[in-house]
């Protein structure tokens, strides 16, 4: 029976070279980063795959070499900002936080619960909270080069660490809300996130090879954007693909979806900053 299934799978692969993830390994400067993970029991997917596994060899290669990775320009800018004094405090991030590597592991638990706010905050929201309350400077716009440079830099400190969302207490409520949206069919085309990324992951949607829609690589350099962009920007595009009205970056709905996506990708490795088509 197992054999027969295997043969069928082989046939399917022969019929369509594109179906499913490929077998490539992500090695960045000699260090391998796993791009798949076993799903825990009760998970809607059998096996978790990074979106990297669904991209062409050319796109994959850009992420395998930090000198080729076009997102590293943003990281460089992030390093510059990290050491730059600003605001009424006259302090830089480094003055208070030390080396940015002190924030290793933070990206892997985003969005993270804030006791003060009584809700989860995304990396962007944590950064702006600290800029306003500690640095006493003007917050950054969601999709500004400043914010993208900083989220890329802080995210990079967690590269190779597994996505490990807190699933307790208040977080669970937000994840549940995100899950509800994930399975709601919306827009003129009546698609849910799950229509594309769960039921049809691995298949071609016209020219697009659908992945599981995992969030472990954000912020991501997208060749189509010719720029690095946030997860919320990517989601705006996905919602528009259903011809539905998108939510604003930083909205409660997108934070809830982000919280739920982290649970769908728990165990996958952080790849920030990734490269996609």
């Amino acid at each position: 029976m197992r054999l027969a299934l295997g043969a069928l799978a082989a046939l399917a692969v022969a019929a369509s070279a594109q179906a499913g993830p490929d077998e490539d390994k992500l090695v960045i400067d000699g260090v391998e980063i796993a791009t798949e993970a076993q799903a825990p029991e009760g998970h809607p997917l059998d096996k978790l795959y990074s979106g990297w596994r669904f991209r062409t060899d050319e796109t994959q290669a850009l992420q395998m070499d930090d000198f080729e990775n076009p997102a590293m320009v943003a990281v460089e800018y992030g390093i510059e900002l990290w050491g730059k004094p600003a605001g009424a405090s006259g302090k830089s991030c480094a003055d208070c936080h030390g080396d940015v590597s002190e924030l290793a592991g933070l990206r892997a638990v985003m969005p993270k619960w804030s006791e003060a706010a009584g809700r989860p905050l995304t990396m962007e929201q944590w950064i702006n909270w600290s800029i306003e309350t500690h640095q006493e400077a003007e917050p950054w716009k969601w999709e500004s080069q400043e914010m993208l440079g900083m989220t890329a830099l802080i995210g990079l400190q967690s590269r190779g660490m597994p996505v490990a969302p807190d699933m307790s207490g208040g977080m669970a409520e937000w994840q549940e809300r995100g899950k509800e949206i994930y399975y709601t069919r919306m827009g003129q085309l009546d698609f849910a996130c799950a229509t594309c990324h769960e039921a049809n992951a691995g298949y071609m949607l016209r020219a697009d090879h659908l992945s599981q829609g995992q969030s472990n690589g954000f912020p991501t350099y997208r060749l189509k954007w010719q720029n690095i962009g946030s997860l919320h920007r990517r989601l705006e595009g996905c919602v528009k693909d259903a011809r539905a009205e998108p939510w604003k970056s930083g909205s409660d709905e997108l934070v809830a979806i982000e919280a739920y996506l982290a649970t769908r990708g728990a165990g996958l490795m952080i790849e920030t900053p990734s490269v996609r088509q």
Binding site: S16, G187, D190, Y203, R206, E245
Partner: protein, 150 residues
């Protein structure tokens, strides 16, 4: 009342004659099939062919392969190939599948191309009050599909 207004809007958008067009909410299904033409005007297979591959119209190639359109790049693989659909389905069944495939295939990923827009959740502003295809475009697509025999 709402349905009537929408029907009028659609007729207006399509620039069709005032001929009685069946509004989305008034379409009657039997076992997933729709017996009656939505417009009473025979579909044009050439127009239908265009609607099938054009992204802003049916964009059926997003999900279906279709050998008859090999000149078009990128055929999706979410649904079965359209080759020979006319051997598998009657014209009435094909009309039902295009109007609202969920009446034939429960929970299918295929969009309902002539569904009352008020039934959509969070429909994009620019699509408010609009079906994906006009009634005549549905008839055109059905006429094209009817030519796909093997």
């Amino acid at each position: 009342m709402r349905a009537r207004l929408i029907a009028i809007a659609i007729i207006g958008a399509a620039g069709a004659s005032a001929a009685a067009e069946v509004a989305p909410l008034a379409v009657s299904f039997t076992d997933g099939a729709v017996a009656e033409s939505l417009t009473g005007v025979a579909g044009d297979p050439a127009e239908g062919r265009k609607a099938v591959f054009t992204r802003s119209m049916g964009n059926c190639l997003a999900c279906h392969q279709n050998s008859e359109m090999e000149e078009q790049p990128f055929h999706g693989e979410i649904g079965p190939p359209l080759d020979g659909v006319a051997d598998r389905w009657t014209v009435e069944e094909l009309r039902g599948i295009i109007v609202n495939a969920k009446m034939m295939f429960e929970g299918t990923a295929m969009p309902a191309f002539y569904r009352d827009p008020s039934q959509a959740i969070r429909i994009g502003k620019q699509y408010e009050g609009k079906t994906i295809l006009t009634a005549q475009q549905v008839e055109d697509v059905v006429a094209y599909l009817a030519t796909l025999k093997e």
